[in-house]
């Protein structure tokens, strides 16, 4: 177990290192005009050079990278180019928003996907099964930004016109400033993100439940005279969850993309929206900081999923 963790952590660090180099390389392939933008249109070349120097942009790229890495390992991700705010502070402010979005959506999509999948599998080829499969396929092939926009159009715009202003157009209220408002602001983004991913889980759970319900040990469970609901959940779903957990690990990476789109559509100032803004402004420290942070989160989450997998299946040994 310990060796497994160390090895996976080692892998993770290697991945982060490669990602950070790739971003640096990409950034310096295109000519930067950050200093120009900051200095304003009438700035003299001397002013621009001064700003370049202050930001460390006059150093050779390898030197800049070395400085970045040296600071990063000490927990300092640098400062943004425009307001000199520490990147760690920026991440700290945006993180709760992204976490609220991602975790809420994950709970919703797992509940939706797994429940629908179980219902479909217990009554295969029934009306419910067909309906749920259609529902899943529909959202599976839906572009995520379009789903968000449609939700906004019908559930914000139309509803508000009709006199029900249940949902805001976007933005965010911290949980500590009012759980009700926090919830209101997140409902539509949660739905937008969850529907997209729930589809995969409906199909996955249905398939793996159908396989499991045909297993000999399910017949044994029935032969024991336990309730059918217990047969389905404790014996059936217990086994069918293993591939769901694996898929969850795979989807965490995909979730990052979904979060970026959803935050942009719903104007949630989370990590996704922040990084999009930073890219537009060529704000390198913020881009690197957030991308590395997100990558680290995915790496850690994947390790946790693997550990969960080993707990779910006693036959799996981590090595």
């Amino acid at each position: 177990m310990l060796r497994f963790l160390l090895r996976r952590l080692g892998h993770g660090i290697l991945v982060l290192w490669l990602i950070s180099m790739a971003i640096f390389a990409l950034f310096f392939v295109a000519p930067s005009n950050v200093a120009q933008t900051l200095a304003g249109r009438q700035a003299t070349p001397e002013t621009i050079a001064l700003i370049q120097h202050r930001l460390g942009l006059d150093l050779p790229v390898w030197k800049q990278y070395l400085n970045f890495v040296t600071n990063a390992v000490q927990g300092n991700l640098g400062y943004d180019y425009y307001h000199q705010v520490p990147v760690t502070t920026i991440i700290g402010q945006a993180l709760p928003i992204t976490l609220s979005l991602a975790l809420g959506a994950a709970v919703l999509w797992l509940i939706l996907g797994v429940t629908n999948g179980v219902i479909s599998a217990v009554h295969p080829r029934s009306l419910a099964d067909r309906g749920l499969t259609l529902f899943a396929l529909f959202f599976y092939s839906f572009p995520s930004f379009l789903l968000g926009l449609l939700l906004l159009y019908f559930l914000y715009f139309k509803l508000t016109l009709a006199g029900f202003d249940w949902f805001p157009a976007g933005g965010y209220t911290a949980f500590s400033d009012g759980p009700g408002a926090w919830f209101q602001h997140l409902v539509l983004p949660w739905i937008a993100l969850a529907l997209l991913l729930a589809a995969t889980y409906t199909r996955l759970t249905r398939g793996s439940m159908l396989d499991v319900l045909g297993e000999d040990y399910i017949r044994t469970a029935r032969s024991k005279g336990i309730r059918e609901s217990r047969v389905v959940v404790r014996h059936g779903l217990r086994s069918a969850l293993t591939p769901v957990v694996t898929q969850f690990g795979i989807d965490l990476g995909q979730l990052v993309g979904g979060v970026v789109v959803t935050e942009t559509v719903f104007s949630l100032p989370g990590l996704g929206k922040t990084v999009v803004t930073a890219i537009n402004q060529q704000d390198l420290p913020v881009i690197i900081g957030i991308v590395l942070f997100a990558s680290a989160a995915v790496v850690v989450a994947n390790i946790l999923v693997d550990v969960a997998y080993a707990f779910l299946d006693p036959r799996v040994r981590l090595h």
Binding site: E215, D216, Y217, R219, T220, A221, R222, S223, K224, G225, I226, R227, E228, H235, R238, S239, L312, D313, P314, R315
Partner: protein
């Protein structure tokens, strides 16, 4: 009255190719404390018939009756069946490697069974009972092994666990569906021994499904020989071996490996399709004694001796002459 009386059981499955008539008018009795062996090649309807009786068959059209202790299992509702399963009717299956849930500890699985039917027993007592049962079926260091997962046991040991579980609530009837088929020969004998010992101790009746007449010779009181969903011959064990009448029974006996070598003569050909059965005797296409009448008229299951019935047109003396 027998403990279990099955009369004219018919089971068919609707498939895209047509109705599969897996069981076609099956009747047999099981007496309390006795062992009834149900023999026949694979596909003859042994599993379907016993699983239908216990309510485990899904999506089939079923008719007939199966009285167990005064209750007709065929018309009983699922809740009645559920209370009988496990508590009064224990079951074990062919493949011990896949019959236990891979994600739960052995003890947990036995305790679940006990507590499903005994709502007052404490977890601790149920666990103690589970350990006793494991000891009873010959699992060494049962109090430690109770917390092992199935994959930590060998096939034979897992089948012992299945037996322990099936016998946990002292059922009146144990249905054992090819319990030793997947095990190698020495382990087979051990598992059969365990079953016989528990049967004597608990007074359980056993329906033992097998295609191995060697197992029948060891265990059975009465024997039902099944083919293509119906009974071909039914008799006490001795008569099946020494006074058999049906050519199918004789074919099965001839394919039994002898003690000295492996002189196997399997029955040539294969069973008829259960979707479009031929007219006449279902065994006609493979029978060495087939004659005209066999192909036009199906022989009824007729009395040919005390507690001995056979479904074959051959005259009784003639066939016994062939057998000896």
């Amino acid at each position: 009255m027998a403990l279990l009386e099955v009369r004219d059981l018919k089971v068919s499955f609707d498939t895209p190719d047509g109705a599969v008539r897996a069981v076609r008018g099956l009747s047999f009795d099981v007496e309390a404390g006795q062992t009834l062996a149900v023999v026949g090649e694979s596909g003859s309807g042994k599993s379907v018939s016993t699983q239908t009786i216990t309510g485990l068959t899904r999506g089939a059209t079923v008719s007939g009756t199966a009285y167990f202790d005064g209750t007709d299992l065929i018309t009983a509702d699922q809740s009645t069946l559920r209370h009988l399963r496990g508590a009064r009717i224990g079951m074990i299956f062919q493949d011990p490697l896949s019959s236990l849930h891979p994600h739960y500890r052995i003890g947990w699985q036995i305790v679940e069974m006990i507590r499903a039917h005994d709502s007052v027993i404490s977890k601790k007592d149920a666990r103690k009972r589970a350990a006793e049962l494991l000891t009873l079926v010959g699992i060494p260091r049962a109090t430690e092994r109770i917390d092992d997962y199935p994959h930590q046991f060998s096939g034979g040991m897992r089948q012992r666990v299945m037996i322990a579980m099936a016998m946990a609530l002292d059922p009146a009837l144990l249905i054992a569906d090819e319990p030793t088929t997947a095990l190698d020969v020495t382990v087979q004998a051990q598992v059969l021994n365990v079953m016989r010992r528990l049967q004597q101790q608990f007074g359980t009746a056993i329906v033992l499904i097998t295609h191995d007449l060697g197992v029948v010779a060891e265990m059975a009181d009465e024997v039902v020989v099944m083919y293509a969903g119906t009974v071909m011959e039914r008799a006490p064990r001795r008569d099946i071996f020494y006074r058999n009448h049906h050519p199918y029974t004789q074919g099965l006996l001839a394919s039994l490996p002898t003690r000295s070598g492996e002189r196997l003569t399997p029955i040539a050909g294969s069973p008829p399709s259960l979707i479009s059965l031929p007219k006449g005797c279902p065994f006609a296409s493979r029978c060495p004694h087939v004659f005209d009448k066999c192909r036009t008229e199906a022989p009824p299951l007729a009395d040919i001796g005390p507690r001995h019935q056979s479904a074959c047109w051959l005259p009784v003396q003639a066939s016994e002459a062939i057998a000896s």
